[in-house]
């Protein structure tokens, strides 16, 4: 085996670059890394996706290092300094209770990312599993599952989330559950549509002829094919999830004060909108920027991950 490899690629790779570009991969790990490397190259040429990725990474860094970056205690009230304009002491001003908006914004990033990521982690597997099973098994399984999806889709997602929060009680965890319940159906739909296009393909027939069980076919062969479009869809959905979370916070049904959730901050700034615009505008801009970044990244990922691009 070894002499064959040396025949094909003259010197053994010594640097990471050579290892990544080696014409003949010598281990499964190397082969997978090479594929990722190619995708990264394709993503790099997409400026707006790269911008989205950078913004998301920046927000992630801000969320992780919030205690180091914050200048004030986010819960400390100082009524003598309420409703201050942005200044050297309070970089983004203070809110109606004299709390530093800049520090609250940093900690708010944690909550927003927490909600967005946890929802995505809950939603993607449920949607994938239900969609691919419905598409591959077909028959009455398909009918039952898709009618359930139809019922969920018939409600506007924010209203559905509102109803769940009303039933479960306000709070971040309940908001996450409610948003998840409202946002898995479109993913199930997507996964089912993808499954229908590939279930008759030769490579699925081939694995059936190998004697594979339906479970193995769905998990090992259909799910990997649906994965990329689901990843794209979830990334694009992140924006909607963040907006719904902020909306629930705004309505007082998500994170509760004094939590620095962006939607809650926006909601408390509403009363002072005309006199002290920054209290509402700053968390609003943060929501806008994060949603935009996820949308741009999702768009770029679609170009990179689409199996039709090889």
């Amino acid at each position: 085996m070894t002499d064959k490899i040396i025949d094909n690629s003259a010197p053994l790779p010594t640097t990471i670059g050579e290892w990544l570009r080696a014409p003949v991969p010598t281990s499964p790990f190397q082969a997978r890394t090479q594929q990722l490397w190619l995708k990264w190259w394709r993503l790099r040429s997409n400026a707006s996706a790269l911008f989205g990725l950078c913004v998301i990474l920046a927000i992630l860094a801000v969320a992780i290092f919030a205690p180091l970056l914050a200048t004030h205690d986010i819960f400390e009230q100082n009524l003598a300094q309420r409703l201050m304009r942005p200044s050297a002491i309070h970089w983004l001003g203070t809110d109606e209770l004299g709390r530093d908006i800049y520090s609250r914004l940093l900690f708010g990033a944690r909550i927003t990312l927490y909600i967005a990521c946890l929802t995505a982690i809950i939603v993607a597997p449920i949607g994938l599993l239900i969609g691919t099973s419905a598409g591959y098994i077909g028959g009455w399984v398909d009918i039952v599952l898709m009618r359930i999806v139809d019922i969920f889709l018939a409600f506007p997602s924010l209203i559905l989330a509102l109803a769940f929060v009303a039933a479960l009680g306000p709070g971040i965890q309940n908001a996450i559950i409610a948003i998840s319940l409202a946002s898995w159906p479109p993913i199930a739909r997507l996964a089912r549509a993808e499954t229908l296009t590939i279930r008759k393909s030769d490579y699925i027939s081939a694995i059936r002829l190998q004697g594979a069980s339906p479970l193995r076919i769905i998990l090992g062969h259909i799910v990997p094919m649906c994965m990329s479009s689901v990843v794209v869809r979830v990334t694009l959905n992140m924006a909607a999830i963040i907006l719904t979370a902020a909306g629930l916070g705004f309505l007082g049904l998500g994170a509760q004060p004094p939590s620095p959730e962006w939607g809650t901050m926006l909601s408390s700034g509403r009363e002072f909108m005309l006199t002290n615009w920054w209290i509402a505008a700053i968390p609003g801009c943060a929501i806008l920027l994060t949603s935009l970044a996820f949308n741009l990244l999702g768009d770029g990922l679609r170009d990179v991950l689409d199996p039709r691009n090889g």
Binding site: M1, P28, L209
Partner: protein, 260 residues
């Protein structure tokens, strides 16, 4: 028809219809044939004559057929079990569609071994790749990095790695260019000699079928018109008018006929 006891696979009155009611079309109509152990049998006919449908029904991809399919003189169920797939494997027409785009060559082969509970995975994978002339350098490749001929070799390796007795070949060379076609055909020929495989090949290409098979059946609109040996086809001894036209069309332009 010669009667032998060692019919490895046989169809009796196989009929496959698609659709129902007024829109129903019968793709395969009352087809009976058999394969002896170790022989290579070819089904040949124009596009849409039902030859691939027979193969899909035999393989178990289409359970909606009437008539019966016998294996070793025992009827097999419409839904096939693992033991059946262990004995009967198939190579598809289009090597660009028959390999999972996200799976490395090694994983494609490994999965078959795991499903059927084989041991010695790494050794068997190396042996299978060597047998189809690919070698270990192709082990960690993805299908999109391979040419059509290389993909078809992987597909053949996948079919053969679980050591089946019967190989169903659905026009295995028609998606490849001519020089690669010859390579794949010779590979199939060698593998059959080495392993004593039984082939059922479906094709519309007379040259391909006469190269590989000993016995050939000509199909037309869902029926087998006639069955004959390769020698008789080569000699042009056919009974049916359609077969004669088919052969003439396959052989092509013949200046001798016009000269005489």
């Amino acid at each position: 028809m010669n009667v032998t006891t060692d019919k490895i696979i046989e169809t009796v009155g196989l009929t496959v219809a698609f659709g129902s009611g007024a829109t129903s079309t019968t793709a395969v109509n009352d087809v009976s044939f058999f394969l002896d152990r170790g022989e290579a049998f070819g089904l040949i006919g124009e596009s849409g004559c039902g030859k691939s449908t027979i193969l899909r029904a035999l393989a178990g991809l289409n359970p909606d057929y009437s008539g019966s399919i016998l294996s070793g003189n025992k009827e097999v169920g419409h839904r096939r079990d693992k033991a059946f797939f262990r004995r009967v494997q198939m190579v598809f027409q289009d090597p660009y569609a028959s390999l999972h785009p996200r799976k490395m060559v090694q994983n494609v082969l490994l999965e078959s071994l795991i499903i059927h509970g084989f041991d010695n995975h790494q050794k068997r994978i190396s042996a299978a790749l060597d047998a189809v002339g690919l070698g270990s350098a192709f082990r960690y490749r993805y299908p999109h990095e391979l040419s059509g001929g290389q993909r078809q070799r992987v597909a053949i390796a996948r079919a053969l790695i679980i050591e089946p007795e019967i190989l169903l070949l659905d026009e295995p060379t028609s998606a490849l260019d001519v020089s690669v076609q010859a390579e794949i055909l010779n590979l199939l020929k060698t593998l059959r000699r080495e392993r004593g495989l039984t082939y059922l090949m479906v094709t519309h290409d007379l040259a391909v079928v006469t190269h590989l098979c000993e016995r050939i059946a000509i199909m037309h609109s869902g029926r087998i018109l006639e069955e004959m040996t390769v020698e008789r086809i080569r000699a042009g001894e056919v009974k049916e008018e359609y077969s004669r036209n088919f052969l003439a069309a396959s052989i092509g332009y013949k200046p001798m006929e016009y000269a005489s």
